[in-house]
Each structure stands twice: as structure tokens, then as C-alpha cells.
């Protein structure tokens, strides 16, 4: 890879693309010199110190030397590189680089003096901007670099240095973010390698201070590399002052603002520059979908500090500090121009790799070459300004579109949500629909069942209405009745009770009547039965009489029949005689006979009619006879039955009579027994009365003896008293004896 890079190292860019900006270098050179010359005299006029003129003379001499260097460089680079010479070319390039390096060292020696003097007398030199620009383009000696940058930016006595100390005491909201990137800024560089070392700490301090100083920008990734490069040249405070200056003056802070709009602008500008200056490459990039931001973002955001080795990065920083963003654009064009050939042969991936890797080492050996190309790049500032306007217009339009897009997106989201909602709703509705259909089917079944039921109920209703009508009629009746009752009911309760009483009475009366009727019925029944018992005999008699009458009639009828037959016979005989007479008379009296025949015929007819009538009568009579016979039969049957009944009753009667006789006999026996018992009782009572009398007699006699004994006792007592005690014992013994006797009396009486 390196070899191929070396092949391209010398300005091998196709001449076709060069004229646009390389056609002017020759006039530009004298211009530069003129500029220096022009600027020199005023200084000389203004010069106060005599040494200044000497200095100027020296500077001019140095200028001339540098121009010669440039020429030599140009002459060197102008050496055509033939394709076959690639190896040799590489060798020559190395030599050339060393030669330029030697030039460098030569010029460096003089530059040292120049820069030493410049720094000492900055106030006068600073106004010679053209001169300074050229001087810077030659490269600032590394020892002076830090100072030179400060002087160039006029920050050597900036007030921001004082602010820095203040900022260090404060805490920044970006501290965390800054810390996160500190170790990842120049991680390979000796100064920043050590974790929490001096380099990392000072880097952090400056970044933090700036984030506090410029709150709009705060901290932006990329700025750390710029600060790191500055810190390599000067202490923290000075770095901070330079940073603040370049951020503001060179619009670097615009790049780092949160919107990073300026970066887009830079990309756009660069793209337009490529289109104008390197159209072939522009077409290639477009064809490969290779966007400017893919490789150039870091160029602007880190001012090439991440793209090139530090030596080149420092030179680029010199230019940036001296010339601003223009230097960065020119370098970009220079890089692309010098790499055009390589890039055209690569696809997107290859180009990306080229920018990420190969580019870094491509100019390592000869940075001056690239810088020189960049000095040659010319483009119209006016056009860039115009582009800027165009871009801002485009951007604002884009912003509007973005806003519109965002609006549409939110609207879309809302609509999507609505769709989701609606879908859910529709799903639920579908579910409901199905459910409803199922329900409907079920309902249909139910309605069918209900219809059947309805029909049944209708029938029932019809029946019921019929019944109802009937009931209505009933009700009407009832109403009529009730109305009649109501009339009664309208009476007072007392009346009701009386009515009830009446009704009860009536009821009782009815019941009585009923019992009466029942008894009547019973009586009647009895009567009927009696009558029935009696009737047959009457009936039979009547029937027998009828029968006799009928038989008589029959006999009469028979007689009349016989008479009729006799008459018929008479008539026939008469007819015969008549016929005989007719024959005797014959023809002479035919006419008269005819009349007679007619008469006779009529007679016979009448007779026949009579006969028929009699026959009818006869038949009727026969029928009557039949009826009577049947009646007779029935009657005889009845009679037979009656007879049987009579017999049975008679037998019963006989049995009952016998029973009665038996009972009468027993009654007689009992009467006799009663009589016997009565006589016995009389005898016994008589016997008692006799015994009573006897006892009364005995009682009387005993009472007499008691009385006599009591008299004796009294006599004895008196005699005893008289006799004193002589006969006392005999007496007491006698008393005992007597008392015993008295005691025996009741016993005798009890017997």
C-alpha cells in the first residue's frame, strides 16, 4: 500500500483538473512578494527603532530564501512522474522529503530568529497580516508555536485567562461526559496516556472550563482533540484562552453546537467545492454513494488532529490559527486532489478504508507537499458565501420538511393507534356479531317453541273464551241473582240476621216439611204396596170380564160372518136363477137384459164392497181378540204369581200363628208361676206377722218380769238395809244371779 501511496505522492494529479486553480500560481507569487514589500515600507515609515530596518532587511532576505525554497519545491514537484518510474519515484520522493526537511531545518534556523524577534515585537508585526500569513505557512518553529498561536490570536493577555481560574472552582453538568472521553483522547500520546495523569487532568480542566464558559455548546465530542493538541503546546490557562478565541472567531463553536448545523454547512460547502474543483471525483463519489460526511466530518470537527500524525496536525493548526476555516477547506481539497487517482480506482468500502488508514500515513514523510498543494487551492469566497445562503435556505426548507415529516409521523402514529383501536373494535364487533347470530338462532328456536305454545294457548284461549262466555252467562245469572240478593243484602245487618233467622226458620220448616213428605212418601209407599197387593185381583176380574166380553163379541162376529156367507150363497143362487132366466129369454129381450145385467153387476159390486168391509171388520176384531188374549195371558200370569205369593204369605201366616200360640202358652206358664210366687210371698208375710206378734207377746211378758224383779230388788234392798249385813252376801249373790238372768233375757229376745 505504501508503495502505491508513494507513487501518488508527487503531484500526479491529472493536468486537466489543475488549470482551474493552478493556472494562477505564477501571478500569485509576485503578489505575495509585493504584499510583503508593500507592507514593509509602511512599517519602515512607522518604524521607530533603527533596528527595525535591519530586521526587515533580514526578513526580506529570509522571504527570498523561502521563495527560493518554494521554487525549488515546485521545481521538484514539477518533475513528471512516468508510470514506469514508480520505484524510482518513491526513492526520489524520499530524497525530496529529506531535502525539504533539510530546507526546513535551514529555514527553521532563520525562522527561529525571525519568530524570536516577532514575539518580542508583536505589536508592530501583527499588523502585517500578509507577511505573517506567509511566515506561518512556512511553519512555526515548535518552540515558538505555543506563543505564536497566542500572539496570532491575540490572546496573550486575554481576560479569559482569569475566568479560567474561576471556572475550575465550579462544577459543570458535562463533567461526566467529558470524563468519559478524556481517556479516549490521544490515548496513544505520551502526555495523555497516564490515567488521571497531568495530561488527562489538564485536558479535563480545560474541557470543563469551556463547557462552563460556553453553555450553549457545553461539551462536544471532537473538541477534546483540539484542546489536546493545544495542551501539547501551552499550559491550561493559555489553552483555554486560545480555545475560546478559535471557537468564537473561527466559528468553531458553531460546529459544536448541539444542532451541529454548521457541520452540515461545511459538508455542503466542501461538496460544492469538490463538484467545482474535482468534478471527476465528485461523479465518482456520487456513483459510489460516498457522502462527504463519511470522511470529512472529523476533518472539520477535530481540525485533522485525528486524521494525521501530530506533526502534520500541528502544521495544520498553524494554518488554521492564521487563516481560519479556509485553511481547512483548502486542505480538504488538497487531500482529495492528491488522492484523486487512488480514490477513483476504489469503491465505497475501499475509499472509506483509504481515508481511515492510508491517508494517515500518506503524508507522514512529506507533510509540506500537502500543505503546498493546499496553498495553491483557489476558490471564490463570494461563491462560498452564496453557497452558504443557498444551504441555509435549503436547510430551513429541510427543517420545515422535517417538522412536517415529524408532524406526519405523529399523525401516522395516531392514525395507526386509531386503526389498532378500530381493529380491536371491529374484532369485538365481529365477536358480537357471531354471538348475536348464535343468539338469534337460539332465539329463533325459542320463538318457534313459543309460536307452538302460542297456538296451544290460543286454542286454550278459545276454549277459555267459550268457557268465559258460559261463565259470563252464569255470571249474568248470578248477577241477576246477586242483584236480587243485593237488594236484600242492602238491608242492614240486623235485617240480615233477621233474614238469616227467617231463613233458618224456613229451613227448619222445610226440613219438617221434608220429614213430613218423607213420612207421607212412606205412607204412600205403604199404601201403594197395599194397593199392589189388592190390585191384581181387581185387574184379573176386569180382564176376565173383558175376556168374556171379547169372546162374546167374537161369537157375534162369527155369527155375522155366517149370516154374510148365507147371504152370499143366497145371492149366488139368486144370480144363477137370474142367469137361467136370461138364457130362456135370450135374444128378443136382449136389450132389456143388458140393462138388468148392468144393474146386477152394480149390485154385486156393492155386495163385494160390503163383503170387504165386513172382512176388514172381522180382521180388526181378530186383532182385538189377539190383544185381549195376550192381555188375558198376562193377567193369568200375574194371577199365577199372585197366587204363589198368597200361598207363601199364608204359610208365613200359619208359622206366625203357631209362634203366637207358643208364646201365648209361655205367657200362661209365666202367669202361673207369678201367681204361685205371689201366694208364697203372702204365706211368708203372714208367718212373719205371726212371729212378730209372738215376739211382742214375749217382750211384754219379759218386761213384766223385769218390772216384778225390779220391785223385788227394791224390796230386797230395803229388807237388806233392814237386815244389815246378815243377809247381804246372800242378797248380792241373788243380785248377781238376777243380773245374769237379765243378761240372758236379751239373748232370748234376740232368738
Amino acid at each position: 500500500m505504501e508503495t502505491s501511496n508513494d507513487d501518488i505522492l508527487p503531484p500526479s494529479t491529472p493536468p486537466t483538473s489543475r488549470p482551474s486553480y493552478t493556472s494562477t500560481p505564477n501571478p500569485s507569487k509576485p503578489q505575495k512578494v509585493n504584499n510583503n514589500d508593500e507592507e514593509a515600507p509602511p512599517k519602515a515609515k512607522n518604524g521607530k527603532m533603527p533596528t527595525e530596518e535591519e530586521l526587515l532587511a533580514k526578513l526580506e532576505a529570509a522571504n527570498r530564501m523561502l521563495e527560493e525554497d518554494e521554487k525549488s519545491f515546485n521545481s521538484l514537484s514539477a518533475v513528471p512522474v512516468t508510470p514506469g518510474h514508480s520505484r524510482k519515484g518513491s526513492g526520489s520522493s524520499v530524497i525530496s522529503s529529506t531535502s525539504t526537511n533539510s530546507h526546513y531545518s535551514n529555514s527553521n534556523e532563520t525562522l527561529w530568529d525571525v519568530w524570536g524577534r516577532l514575539v518580542n515585537d508583536w505589536d508592530t508585526v501583527r499588523k502585517r497580516t500578509g507577511y505573517l500569513k506567509e511566515l506561518v505557512r512556512k511553519g512555526i518553529p515548535s518552540h515558538f508555536r505555543g506563543l505564536a498561536w497566542q500572539y496570532l490570536l491575540n490572546v496573550h493577555d486575554s481576560p479569559s485567562k482569569h475566568l479560567y481560574v474561576e471556572y475550575l472552582k465550579k462544577t459543570s453538568p458535562f463533567e461526566k461526559l467529558i470524563r468519559r472521553d478524556i481517556a479516549r483522547t490521544f490515548p496513544d500520546h505520551e502526555f495523555f496516556k497516564e490515567k488521571d495523569g497531568l495530561g488527562q487532568e489538564s485536558l479535563f480542566n480545560v474541557m470543563k472550563a469551556y463547557s462552563l464558559h460556553d453553555r450553549e455548546v457545553g461539551y462536544c465530542q471532537g473538541s477534546g482533540f483540539i484542546v489536546g493538541l493545544l495542551l501539547m503546546q501551552m499550559p491550561e490557562e493559555e489553552t483555554f484562552a486560545v480555545l475560546v478565541k478559535i471557537m468564537v472567531d473561527y466559528r468553531l463553536r458553531e460546529l459544536f453546537k448541539p444542532s451541529m448545523a454548521e457541520l452540515g454547512l461545511c459538508m455542503f460547502k466542501l461538496e460544492c467545492l469538490i463538484q467545482e474543483l474535482l468534478p471527476e471525483l465528485y461523479v465518482h463519489f456520487n456513483a459510489q454513494n460516498f457522502y462527504t460526511s463519511m470522511y470529512a466530518s472529523s476533518w472539520f470537527l477535530t481540525l485533522y488532529t485525528t486524521s494525521f500524525p501530530l506533526a502534520i496536525a500541528c502544521r495544520i493548526m498553524d494554518l488554521f490559527i492564521s487563516e481560519g476555516m479556509d485553511a481547512i477547506f483548502r486542505l480538504a481539497i488538497a487531500i482529495l486532489q492528491s488522492s484523486q487517482e487512488d480514490l477513483l480506482s476504489l469503491d465505497m468500502e475501499g475509499m472509506l478504508r483509504y481515508f481511515q488508514k492510508d491517508l494517515r500515513t500518506k503524508y507522514e514523510s512529506d507533510p509540506e507537499q500537502l500543505l503546498q498543494i493546499s496553498y495553491q487551492v483557489k476558490y471564490s469566497q463570494k461563491k462560498l458565501k452564496k453557497l452558504e445562503k443557498e444551504y441555509t435556505a435549503l436547510k430551513s426548507k429541510e427543517n420545515e420538511e422535517q417538522i412536517e415529516l415529524r408532524r406526519l409521523r405523529t399523525e401516522n402514529n395516531l392514525l395507526r393507534q386509531r386503526i389498532e383501536c378500530l381493529e380491536k373494535e371491529s374484532a369485538s364487533l365481529a365477536d358480537r356479531l357471531i354471538q348475536d347470530q348464535v343468539n338469534r338462532a337460539q332465539e329463533a328456536e325459542i320463538t318457534y317453541a313459543l309460536k307452538n305454545e302460542l297456538a296451544m294457548t290460543k286454542q286454550k284461549l278459545c276454549d277459555l273464551t267459550k268457557k268465559y262466555e258460559e261463565a259470563d252467562v252464569l255470571i249474568c245469572e248470578v248477577k241477576e241473582r246477586t242483584s236480587s240478593y243485593e237488594n236484600a243484602c242492602n238491608l242492614t245487618e240486623d235485617a240480615a240476621t233477621t233474614l238469616i233467622q227467617q231463613l233458618q226458620e224456613e229451613l227448619i220448616a222445610v226440613r219438617l216439611r221434608e220429614t213430613e213428605t218423607n213420612t207421607l212418601i212412606k205412607e204412600l209407599k205403604l199404601k201403594i204396596s197395599e194397593l199392589e197387593d189388592r190390585a191384581p185381583s181387581n185387574d184379573i176380574q176386569q180382564l176376565q170380564e173383558e175376556l168374556i166380553a171379547v169372546k162374546l163379541r167374537e161369537a157375534e162376529a162369527n155369527l155375522s160372518l155366517k149370516e154374510l156367507r148365507q147371504r152370499v150363497i143366497e145371492l149366488e143362487s139368486y144370480w144363477e136363477s137370474h142367469m137361467e132366466r136370461m138364457q130362456s129369454l135370450n135374444s128378443p129381450k136382449e136389450k132389456s137384459s143388458k140393462q138388468e145385467v148392468r144393474q146386477l153387476q152394480e149390485e154385486t159390486m156393492t155386495i163385494k164392497l160390503r163383503e170387504a168391509q165386513t172382512l176388514v171388520n172381522l180382521k180388526e176384531m181378530k186383532q182385538k181378540v189377539m190383544e185381549l188374549e195376550t192381555q188375558n195371558q198376562i193377567c193369568t200370569n200375574q194371577m199365577r204369581r199372585m197366587g204363589d205369593e198368597n200361598k207363601s204369605i199364608k204359610t208365613e201366616m200359619e208359622a206366625v200363628a203357631e209362634h203366637e200360640k207358643d208364646l201365648n202358652n209361655t205367657i200362661k206358664d209365666l202367669k202361673r208361676k207369678i201367681d204361685d210366687l205371689e201366694s208364697q210371698k203372702r204365706e211368708e208375710s203372714m208367718m212373719f206377722r205371726i212371729r212378730e206378734a209372738e215376739k211382742d207377746q214375749m217382750l211384754g211378758s219379759l218386761k213384766q218380769t223385769i218390772a216384778s224383779l225390779e220391785i223385788e230388788k227394791a224390796e230386797l234392798l230395803t229388807t237388806g238395809q233392814l237386815l244389815n249385813k246378815e243377809g247381804n252376801q246372800d242378797l248380792t249373790n241373788k243380785i248377781y244371779d238376777l243380773q245374769e238372768e237379765v243378761g240372758q233375757f236379751p239373748k232370748l229376745l234376740g232368738l
Partner: protein
Amino acid sequence: MAAGPYNYSYIFKYIIIGDMGVGKSCLLHQFTEKKFMADCPHTIGVEFGTRIIEVAGQKIKLQIWDTAGQERFRAVTRSYYRGAAGALMVYDITRRSTYNHLSSWLTDARNLTNPNTVIFLIGNKCDLDAQRDVTFEEAKQFAEENGLMFLECSAKTGENVEDAFLDTAKKIYQNIQDGSLDLNAAESGVQHKPATPRNPLNTDTPPNKEGCAC
């Protein structure tokens, strides 16, 4: 590596997104170089890496865009989402804030990529389990809720790094096979049989020589 202009039949475009310092560039470097780069400068704008992998017998070239993590760089990196077939969304398991910002990254990914873009959630720095601030389970749940694939990886040890890139590729390939990813769509992020390169020499450079220029 087999030489020849067409030693792969597909190109899948990937994008790596996520907060600052979660290890996006290191993941890419680990995948492309199979090495952990301890001193990796932070990414300015976008970086790029490639590697050829094999899925179902098909050689697939992964074109991976590694983006700057700082919020304000989204303005720059947003244009790289377009036409990405796979998006690796990275957070740092030792820093909850990087996990909390996932929803914002996911919104960007969803808005700026096509609906078929495979979004793969990566919890990086799983070697630092002692300093873990986000549990595997909750991240897994987040992934499931948002339909993302998920793995915890370590760019340092290389654990699961291959799987994350390969699984994404497998999923994309599967989407192609089942027809859900239309190769003809403008921003499918997949190219089938790349167009003839201008210089075949540059296309068959081995993948291990490619990769991020960190």
C-alpha cells in the same frame, strides 16, 4: 480467504448505535479484528468496518457503520440508519443511564430504518459483572416487549460478540428466505451479488485487514 471478486453473495448493512462510551467501536473492533482495543479514541461522526461471515452456507459481507454516541451527533449519524438491514443497539450493563436511553435510540431506529430491520440489543461489558447496574432479566424483558433480539456481550473478552453479529445476520437471512424482506426494496439494507467493482483487487482484501480504523 478465498480470492475472487465475488467471494460473497450478499452484503448486509449494519449500524451500531448507543450512548457514549458503551463500547460500540470496541465491539466492532472485536468483531472485525478479534482483538480488544483498550485505547480506542472516541468516534467522531461515523466509522466503518467489514467482515465476511457465513450463514447457511452463504457467504455474507457485513458492512458495519459505527456511530458517535453523543446525543448531538445524531444529526450526523441519522443518515446512516437509512437502509440498514441490522441495527445493533448497545448499552453498558454497568451504567443504568445507557440502558434508560434505549427507548430513545429505539425510537430513532424504528423511525429511520425500514420495518424489517433486525434490531439486536446488546448489553456490553458483561465481564464487569461486579459493577453490574442492569440485570439480565430486565433487559431481556425490555427486548421481548419491543421484539428485539438480545445478548449480553463483552467486547473485552469477546464473549457473545460473534453471536450477536451472526444471529443478526441469520435473522436477516431468514427474513430474506421467508420473503418478508424484499431485496428489491430501496432501503432493504441488503445487496445480492454486488455489482462488478471497478478494481477487483480492492474488494477481495481479507476481512481481517478491514475493520474500524480506531
